[in-house]
């Protein structure tokens, strides 16, 4: 159980409050009941006492103690009723005391006398016999023609004590059980109340930048939860709108650039192609045309990226051997590498079956190879290797090039990012190749990582999930979402060398 969780803390508070409440109620019941039983016992004693009073009041002035005793025994039968009756005449003459009750719950002779100062009116008191038996006594002073009497009528407190014990036992068992039920129930209740929040967070977790159409479940509860889900949904809608706007802008911008580019290129090419331009002018036109070509690549790259952003993986997916695609691409680029004195090593390419769009994946390989060749000095090697781990099919593109400083590693997949401004610009790279490669990988549910050491070389890893065909699509969705959440920071350098 998570001790910091809201559910836990609420449940603890709830339990504490419930325990306090139960304790209060329990104490109340205990004392209330005791008091009630006691006072009703007192009342019944008082009624008997009235009978004794009547006997004494009606007795003639010269009545004998024996006559009184007989009257009491006849009218009240204390021993039979388990009552204690004692009549004392002032100042200290015992007129009558009942015999031991039928149930032997107390010894009448063991009950202490009231004392020399009698009360002015009747009262109920407790007394303990010499044998330790507790009694409740109703003590009433009475003045008659035959003298002043103190009538004491009592009964054993044992039933009340038994009741108290039972009650204590019951409460002692019941209260903890209630507290346990209450805290469990409270925990469940809080969890139940938080379940919609859980559902919201689950939905949110499955969202990605490409899947912003989904909305959180809205609970018609009319309270904070409903407001929260509504405002989160509004936030999502705004996020989607602004994302769409920026994507549309990127797509539109690269679109709109194409017509003027066609004209510029066409007109310039016509001039250069048709007329023999004097040397220097021709050079200048050529230089401008080279820039136009670069602009063209840039626009094409941006358009590709905007497509991939929109979640568009073109064409049909097919099962393909990525090693084969890599090998044929490497063959096509081998001459270009050799021209720069770089060897392409392909001996460690083992079949690597994945599902994907062959043309797009080829573009990834081309971009990575182009990158490796561009940044590897003469005499270097670019090694292509495929391997399988339990979770991934991995393709490595390793070079012995200039490497990427650790500070730049997290940024290499960013658009227009260049490790070394001067160097790569002069090489004509637009700074989009790696970010296109990454976008394509994401669209395939694959990951791309880089590992590099300055002066020793870099290694790019493509990790394709090894899953049954049916699962790949789903995984692609999930991984895509996950990676898009932190699209620019997930370049955790990992080591996969075996």
């Amino acid at each position: 159980m998570n001790h910091r969780s809201l559910a836990f803390r609420l449940a603890v508070w709830y339990t504490l409050l419930m325990s306090a409440a139960f304790a209060l109620v329990g104490t109340g019941i205990f004392y209330g009941l005791t008091q009630y039983v006691r006072s009703s016992l007192g009342d019944s004693l008082r009624r008997r006492s009235v009978q004794v009073e009547q006997i004494l009041a009606q007795a003639p002035r010269d009545v004998t103690d024996a006559a009184i005793a007989e009257s009491i025994n006849t009218r009240i039968a204390p021993d039979f009723n388990n009552r204690f009756v004692r009549v004392t005449r002032a100042p200290a003459a015992l007129v009558y005391v009942s015999t031991a009750p039928a149930d032997h719950s107390f010894d009448p002779r063991g009950v202490a006398y009231f004392g020399s100062i009698w009360p002015l009116k009747s009262l109920t008191r407790s007394a303990v016999t010499a044998q330790g038996q507790a009694l409740i006594l109703s003590t009433t002073p009475l003045a008659t023609a035959s003298g002043r009497y103190l009538i004491e009528l009592g009964t054993s407190l044992e039933p009340i004590e038994t009741l108290q014990q039972r009650l204590l036992l019951l409460l002692g068992l019941l209260l903890p059980a209630l507290v346990i039920c209450a805290s469990g129930g409270g925990y469940m209740l809080v969890n139940w109340a938080l379940r919609p929040v859980d559902r919201m967070s689950q939905t949110a977790a499955h969202m990605s930048l490409r899947n912003l159409e989904a909305r959180l479940p809205v609970l018609p509860t009319g309270d904070a939860l409903e407001r929260l889900s509504l405002s989160l949904n509004q936030l999502l809608a705004r996020l989607r709108d602004s994302l769409q706007a920026s994507r549309r802008f990127l797509a539109d911008a690269s679109h709109e650039l194409r017509t003027p580019l066609t004209i510029i290129k066409g007109e310039l090419q016509e001039i250069v192609g048709k007329q023999a331009l004097p040397g220097e002018v021709g050079e200048r036109f050529g230089s401008v045309l080279e820039e136009v070509a670069r602009l063209e690549h840039l626009v094409a790259g941006l358009l590709v990226l905007s497509r991939l952003d929109a979640g568009e993986v073109q064409g049909d997916w097919a099962e393909l051997d990525l090693a084969k695609v890599t090998l044929s691409t490497a063959e096509q680029m081998r001459l270009m590498a050799e021209d720069r004195g770089i060897q392409i090593e392909t001996a460690s390419l083992a079949p690597m079956l994945i599902r994907g769009n062959p043309a797009r994946l080829k573009q990834v390989i081309v971009n990575l190879l182009d990158n490796a060749i561009r940044f590897t000095p003469r005499g270097g090697t670019v090694t292509l290797r495929s391997s399988q781990s339990s979770l991934y099919s991995v393709l490595e593109v390793r070079d012995t090039g200039i490497g990427i400083p650790a500070s730049s590693l997290p940024n290499v997949f960013e658009r227009f990012f260049r490790v070394d401004e001067a160097r790569s610009r002069e090489d004509g790279g637009a700074g989009l190749g790696l970010s296109i490669a990454k976008s394509i990988c994401l669209a395939h549910g694959a990951q791309i990582h880089v590992d590099s050491e300055v002066g020793k070389g870099s290694c790019f890893y493509l990790l394709f999930p090894r899953l049954p065909k049916s699962v790949i699509q789903g995984a692609a969705q999930a991984i895509r979402g996950e990676l898009l959440m932190d699209r620019d920071t997930d370049v955790t350098p990992i080591t996969l060398r075996n």
């Binding site: 017509t259 036109f285 401008v288 063209e296 080829k362």
Partner: protein
């Protein structure tokens, strides 16, 4: 007049006046009669009023969109060849427009030379007879035996070098842009790979030109490469 002596009449429906003008000028230089329409409605009117041999259609048009016009043309003029120009190049879209009846498809920014090649191909009513031997100056490429000779010397070429030379020789004196070469000899994946074409041309040149005083493969800076005689520069470079 390129084919059969009759003047071919083309209609360009393109809303960007400069681009339309530029394409029209180039095509007129190729001796086609070219009409221009600036929007879909005007294009529709032209098509209804004249007999055209080819329609060049931009997809983003005011009033009646290019796609809509394409559908209408397919119904009214089923045999009119249509070359679609567009800034969109998603493959699915390409497929969609082929399904809608476009005969060919060109993505902006295109090379004008490429446009001319496509136009000529579409206007060719009968399939082109494929010449087995491409001959230029003393350079000879035999498509059947895949043998390349210069004078009496045999030249050994790798597969890509052969494909490159075959493409350049398919239209001597025309300047082929790097993009065109990439798309024909490699594939679109290599677009943006800085110098793959230059490397191959350099290797090809080493084999074809190095031991000869007359150089045949020429660089047109900023544009691309062509096969021509050294002094024929002032000729019709573009197509």
């Amino acid at each position: 007049m390129p084919y059969g002596g009759e003047l071919m009449r083309l209609l360009i429906v393109e809303d960007d006046p400069k681009l339309a003008e530029f394409v029209a000028r180039g095509l007129r230089a190729e001796r086609y009669a070219v009409d221009l329409a600036a929007d879909g409605r005007e294009g529709q009117n032209c098509i209804n009023s004249y007999e055209y041999d080819l329609l060049i259609l931009d997809l983003m048009l005011p009033f009646i969109s290019g796609s809509e016009l394409l559908l209408r043309v397919r119904q009214s003029h089923p045999s009119l060849p249509v070359l679609v120009l567009t800034a969109r190049d998603a493959i699915e879209e390409k497929v969609r427009h082929f399904e809608a009846g476009a005969d060919d498809y060109l993505t902006k920014p295109f090379d004008f030379a490429e446009l001319v090649v496509r136009v000529k191909a579409l206007l060719r009513r009968t399939p082109i007879e494929r010449t087995d031997v491409l001959l230029f100056s003393d350079l000879e490429l035999n498509r059947l035996t895949r043998e390349v000779r210069r004078g009496d010397r045999r030249i050994e070429l790798t597969g890509k070098e052969y494909a490159l030379l075959e493409y350049l020789l398919s239209s001597p004196c025309r300047v082929f842009s790097r993009t065109m070469i990439l798309e024909h000899v490699w594939d679109q994946s290599f677009e943006g790979v800085t110098n793959i074409v230059d490397v191959y041309v350099r290797h090809l040149r080493r084999k074809v030109d190095d031991n000869f005083s007359v150089k045949l493969i020429h660089t047109v800076r900023g544009v691309g490469y062509c096969v021509r005689e050294p002094e024929s520069f002032a000729g019709p470079g573009m197509a």
